[in-house]
């Protein structure tokens, strides 16, 4: 009886074993990279909104302060999206007849809220508080990026736990003076020694408590 398998099959068998191993490793790597990819984190998508609203125009060109519209950001965990009457505060006068403003006017007339598409969404089991971050000298820019350069607003940061912790573990590196919190394009002192001295001073002044109290505890964000 002749052999069922030709000797060359050995090679194929070995290759298949190798391919399986490489395949498993490969799939893991791809999966690892894929879930962290900008696509999966949604950072490449500039979301379309019911109103043609441009941060680039309002912040970058007109220089509006963040708090003009996000009124409660210093007081509440939730930064808040402006109510229609805030938009109409200016737009009853400015560009009042522009078609771009029409949905806002309609909202004011009908009393129906504008349903904005959420750009930065956290899972329901994560509790984030804007006010305390601002209060401790973390700028809007740290997470939201250069909003003053965005037309349609885009998610800048991956908002993964890894990313949150990278800052919670190295708080001092991200602290800036409170008066610069709303600044877009803040530059810390270029000289490393000077920068370190400033950060150290700010950490002490704002009681960021780098040594004493650890904000990497799970219950700080999950509960």
């Amino acid at each position: 009886m002749s052999q069922i398998f030709h000797p060359s099959i050995n090679l194929i068998a070995k290759a298949m074993v190798a391919a399986t191993v490489i395949g498993i490793i490969g799939i893991s790597i791809v999966a690892y990279l894929f879930v962290r990819s900008p696509y999966m984190r949604g950072t490449t998508i500039a979301r379309e909104q019911p109103v043609f609203f441009s941060h680039e125009h309002h912040v970058g060109e007109l220089g509006l302060d963040c708090r003009y519209c996000h009124v409660n950001v210093e007081r509440s965990g939730f930064a808040g999206v402006p109510s229609t009457d805030i938009c109409m505060g200016c737009h009853s006068q400015v560009w009042a007849d522009s078609p771009a403003i029409a949905p806002v006017k309609e909202s004011m007339e009908t009393g129906q809220s504008i349903a904005w598409n959420r750009v930065n969404a956290l899972p329901d089991y994560v509790y984030f508080n804007h006010s305390i971050h601002l209060n401790k000298g973390i700028g809007c820019e740290e997470c939201h990026g250069r909003v003053d350069k965005m037309g349609w607003t885009r998610k800048e940061s991956p908002l993964s736990m890894e990313w949150c912790l990278s800052c919670h573990r190295n708080r001092a590196d991200h602290v800036r003076p409170r008066e610069e919190v709303f600044t877009m394009g803040y530059e810390p002192p270029a000289d490393p020694a000077q920068r370190e001295a400033l950060q150290k001073a700010l950490v002490a002044e704002y009681h960021v408590d780098v040594e004493q109290f650890n904000i990497t505890d799970c219950s700080i964000c999950h509960r």
Partner: protein, 988 residues
């Protein structure tokens, strides 16, 4: 499983053989029945791991396969964006993400309990006590806590109906208008309300009665205060409101009064009473404690607190009161001081030696004569004006409600009623057997029922109108001392409901009246004098939840014993039946409230049922066992009820709770338990002799949490007497001396270290904390079948231990929630790092990481972790979504959950403090259980701060750790329970 029958004789013997302090949890435990052993050796009863709802393994795999495939698909697409929907015009003061608190009052039996309601963007989510309100002082009872669930109950009716067909308010108004044309002077018109203290409602009814002078107003409250009123009338010849100043009472005698956890003013009474009870943290050389004597048939929470408790048949309390009166030299007959021996002597002596500093409190359900005697005794002891205060009646129109109902039923039966307006209360269900309300109501052509639910009365009415929840409408109400609260709505009515005021306004011809204006107009005309600017007064009243200066006037009266010299009722040795409002469903109004249905009764630990409670001796004589179905024959009626043996219950007496056995109510309360109103009479509504029992041969399974979560018979509760403590303050510490060896390094804490202290001397077992925890932490209910498998989800439970013999045992309550161990056994076994130690000493629970191995639960010595075996939380019901606390994750199936000292509140406190660059102040963060506790038994705080209240309590020699020998170093510690028995009575 074959159920072993309890052999009570053997059990007594076993108990007698025990030496030292005899702590036990249930009769099954001493008897060591198979059922108990199974609980003991398996953490969960058999079958706990199975799902018997008909999905086979094969189907399960198929479904799982499909959902895996779908999960794979959805994971590869970017999720649909959530919407952010801002206000069009932002309301003033609302900061999205920051809750607001509004003062209002929770109405119960016509009286108000001041509360502050937490509102998230217009959704009320949690009830807290109002510290400015005299009945609350910052705490609430369990009903107020659970009332938030009633608001969002998906079974609430949503629109008016006429003969069960959906209609609207306009159609009703039209028909009402047509009917009103033939009313004339109102000869055939009747209004039936519950107890009314609302000044606005009372003035509306009075105006209506002026318009229709021949119309009649009836009142009926099934668990009302008829005997209290009748007692006042007997003693003083007029209606008088009585309340007590327990802060000033050294000696308290309760005549079948559960004044600490039930009835009018109980939250305040518990607060005041405990001020004289807690000694931990006080100066050790100068400890004084009040003393409580209780006479009662079935063990109540007040009976549990008693230093001396005398089990006595409810029908014999009158005789006891007479004997006491005779001892104190009052001129009454019918007493027999000899019967009560030393007990009565000691009580009488104690009372007599504390004149002006003692008080005798008669139970709301006790006979009028007992109330009259108590008034006379208090007067003789010089307590009036000191511990007992009499005021003008708080009710708008005090009447004998049972008589009022009888009169109405008779009128209806005679066909002389044309139109009947029922303002809530469900009389078809709750009327006694000799007042056949349903049949009589059928003879009335025009019946209108404004009710909370589409219930038994609604289906019998021509028109049914849904009634607005108290958080949905404007109103006003008075509390036990007469202080008025203006109730403001927290939310627009969710459905097409109307308030009492709106229906009354419609009767007066104004169908579009705004309840806000009705209430405001009333107060504009009737504001207390010297209020000055009305708008200012109105705003201040709304803001504080109290109308300043609205207390009832104190009244000076003299008690006369003329009406009660001789006993009013013949004595009888026949078996007695005692009716009491259910501690969780009250008169049945909360029957569709799942939190209350699943709440374990403090003493029986029974959920989802009511039972016939009886003494061990009686059950032994009748050869009855827990769960045996018996027929209760009384008053020519019969009802089938399961037996439950209650240690400490008086012999020859059976206690049943009202409020169960509802047939038309909603998904939760439908057909749970039996309806005790069926055998209730109107002339002896609370207690009477003449009960007969027959055994049906059937059994009923009862869902009790009692034998669950066992602790293997170790002495977990330490109790002693004040005398012992004075002689040897370290007696607790001697009992808990352990060698502490650990492989783990000591933890060190730089920042806060959270800890809790629970005072067992103060815990009344009122269960308010359990419901508060449920409301705060989005804890689901699981249903009777799941409770029987030990799957109840309460993060907090109140363990109950019996000490001593079973005919009159001493009882200790012990609230147990996650103890936040420093060497937590749960943390080291979690393979997913879903439960980890925080730098502040909490055992954090990360729900999103939990994969449901349940290793942590197995390794927890306190059994305080709870697993979502199924999707218990209803995530699809829109109304329930509104109710949830947005600051706590809603857990889904397959996730372990537990208490974390309300970490969401700690974080809120931390953020507020950090914004101001300061430390969290002591008492700034209160856990939900602590905030609600009327007895202030729970104290939470930073144990690193030696000045904090919790540190001071933990420094007390009474402080001990639960299962300290395990060296898990729990952050929650207990203060041993102390009692203050009379040295002249040898017992305890």
């Amino acid at each position: 499983m074959e159920k072993d029958r309890l052999n009570l004789a053997q059990l007594r013997k076993r108990l007698a053989e025990k030496t030292g302090k005899k702590y036990w949890r249930s009769l099954n435990e001493i008897a060591e029945t198979g059922e108990f052993k199974e609980f003991l050796h398996q953490e969960f009863p058999s079958g706990a791991a199975f799902w018997e709802d008909g999905v086979s393994r094969r189907t399960f795999l198929k479904i799982m396969g499909a959902s895996m495939a779908l999960a794979g698909l959805t994971a590869c697409t970017a999720t649909n964006p959530e919407k952010i929907v801002p206000y069009v015009e932002a309301p003033e003061e609302v900061i999205p993400g920051q809750p607001l608190f509004f003062a209002t009052a929770f109405p119960m039996v016509g009286y108000g309990l001041g509360v502050l309601v937490e509102s998230h963007e217009g959704r009320p989510t949690k009830i807290e006590g109002n510290p400015d309100h005299p009945a609350s002082m910052g705490a609430t009872d369990l009903f107020a806590q659970a009332s938030i669930l009633d608001l969002y109950d998906p079974d609430r009716s949503r629109q008016p109906t006429r003969k069960s067909l959906i209609q609207d308010w306009k159609a009703f108004v039209k028909e009402l208008g047509a009917a009103q044309e033939g009313w004339g002077q109102g000869e055939g018109v009747r209004i039936l309300t519950q107890t009314v203290t609302s000044p606005t409602m009372a003035s509306q009814i009075q105006a209506f009665l002026q318009k229709y002078p021949a119309a009649k107003w009836h009142q009926y409250e099934p668990a009302g205060r008829d005997t209290v009123r009748a007692g006042a009338k007997l003693a003083f010849g007029e209606y008088v409101e009585t309340h007590y100043q327990l802060e000033d009472a050294d000696i308290v005698l309760s005549l079948d009064a559960d004044f600490l956890t039930s009835g009018l003013g109980n939250v305040r009474y518990a607060k005041d009473f405990m001020k004289r009870r807690r000694i931990a943290g006080e100066d050790e050389n100068d400890v004084v404690m009040n003393r409580l004597y209780v006479v009662e048939p079935a063990l109540s929470n007040t009976g549990v607190m008693a230093d001396h408790r005398l089990p006595l048949r409810a029908t014999d309390v009158d005789k006891f009161a007479r004997s006491l009166a005779q001892k104190l030299g009052l001129n009454v007959e019918g007493g027999d001081p000899e019967t009560y021996g030393d007990w009565l002597d000691a009580v009488a002596e104690d009372l007599a030696s504390h004149k002006g500093q003692c008080v005798v409190i008669p139970g709301e359900q006790q006979e009028a004569s007992v109330h009259a005697l108590a008034h006379a005794i208090n007067e003789a002891l010089g307590n009036v004006g000191r511990t007992v205060i009499y005021t003008e009646p708080v009710e708008a129109e005090p009447v004998d409600q049972m008589a009022s109902l009888q009169e109405l039923v008779a009128d209806m039966d005679a066909g002389s009623v044309e139109a009947l307006f029922i303002f809530n209360g469900n009389p078809v269900y709750s009327s006694p057997a000799d007042a056949p309300f349903k049949e009589a109501m059928g003879k009335v052509p025009f019946t209108v029922y404004l009710g909370d639910y589409l219930d038994e009365t609604a289906v019998e009415s021509l028109w049914y109108l849904p009634r607005s929840h108290y958080l949905e409408t404007w109103s006003d109400i008075r509390t036990f001392d007469g202080t008025a609260t203006i109730m403001q709505p927290l939310i627009e009515p969710l459905y097409q409901s109307k308030s009492d005021h709106e229906l009354l306004a419609a009767l007066a011809g104004d169908a579009e009246a705004d309840p806000h204006m009705l209430v405001k107009n009333y107060w504009q005309e009737n504001a207390p004098e010297d209020t000055g600017d009305f708008e200012k007064f109105w705003r201040a009243s709304l803001n504080s939840g109290v109308v300043a200066g609205s207390e009832a006037q104190e009244k000076s009266v003299t008690a006369s014993l003329a009406g009660v010299v001789r006993p009013l009722l013949p004595a009888s040795e026949d078996m007695e039946i005692v009716f009491r409002p259910s501690p969780s469903l009250w008169d049945g109004r909360f029957a569709n409230n799942g939190w209350l249905q699943e709440l374990p009764n403090s003493i029986t630990k029974l959920t989802w049922d009511n039972v016939a409670l009886m003494a061990p001796a009686q059950a032994e004589r009748l050869n009855l066992n827990d769960g045996d179905l018996i027929n209760l024959h009384y008053f020519g009626q019969m009802v089938e009820a399961p037996v439950l043996i209650l240690p400490g219950h008086v012999d020859n007496s059976v206690t049943v709770y009202l409020g169960y056995g509802r047939h038309v109510v909603g998904r939760v309360g439908q057909d749970v338990g039996f309806n005790a109103y069926q055998i209730r009479s109107s002339y002896r509504p609370w207690q009477d002799t003449g009960l007969l029992i027959s055994y049906t041969g059937k059994t009923h399974s009862l869902a009790r949490t009692q034998d669950h979560q066992l602790m293997e018979g170790r002495n977990l509760v330490i109790s002693g007497t004040l005398e012992e403590f004075k002689q040897d303050p370290e007696f607790v510490q001697r009992e808990v001396e352990y060698e502490r060896i650990s492989l783990y390094p000591e933890m060190s804490y730089n920042g806060y270290a959270w800890g809790m202290s629970i005072d067992l001397s103060a815990c009344t077992g009122c269960n308010a904390c359990v419901v508060a925890c449920q409301a705060e932490n989005n804890i689901p209910i699981v249903g009777k079948v799941e409770v029987m498998r030990s799957r109840e989800m309460h993060w907090m439970r109140i363990d109950r231990y019996f000490i001593g013999d079973m005919d009159n045992p001493d009882v200790v309550y012990q609230p147990v929630m996650c103890q936040q161990c420093e060497g937590a056994p749960c943390e080291v076994v979690c393979p997913a790092a879903a439960t980890v130690h925080s730098r502040e000493g909490l055992n954090d629970m990360v729900y999103n990481r939990c994969i449901g191995t349940r290793y942590c639960e197995n390794n927890c010595p306190y059994k305080v972790r709870h697993f979502n075996f199924f999707q218990y939380v209803d995530v699809n019901e829109p109304s329930l979504q509104l109710m949830r606390n947005p600051n706590v994750t809603v857990r889904s199936r397959g996730v372990m959950e537990k208490c974390t000292y309300c970490v969401q509140r700690i974080n809120l406190g931390r953020i507020n403090a950090k914004k101001e660059n300061r430390q969290i102040r002591d008492g700034e963060v209160k856990t939900a259980c602590q905030a609600v506790c009327p007895a202030d038994a729970i104290v939470f705080g930073n144990i690193k701060d030696t000045e904090s209240q919790v540190s001071r309590l933990k420094a007390s020699p009474l402080d001990y750790e639960l299962l300290g020998e395990l060296n898990v170093q729990p952050r929650t510690t207990y203060l041993a329970r102390l009692k203050n028995p009379n040295p002249k009575l040898a017992e305890v």
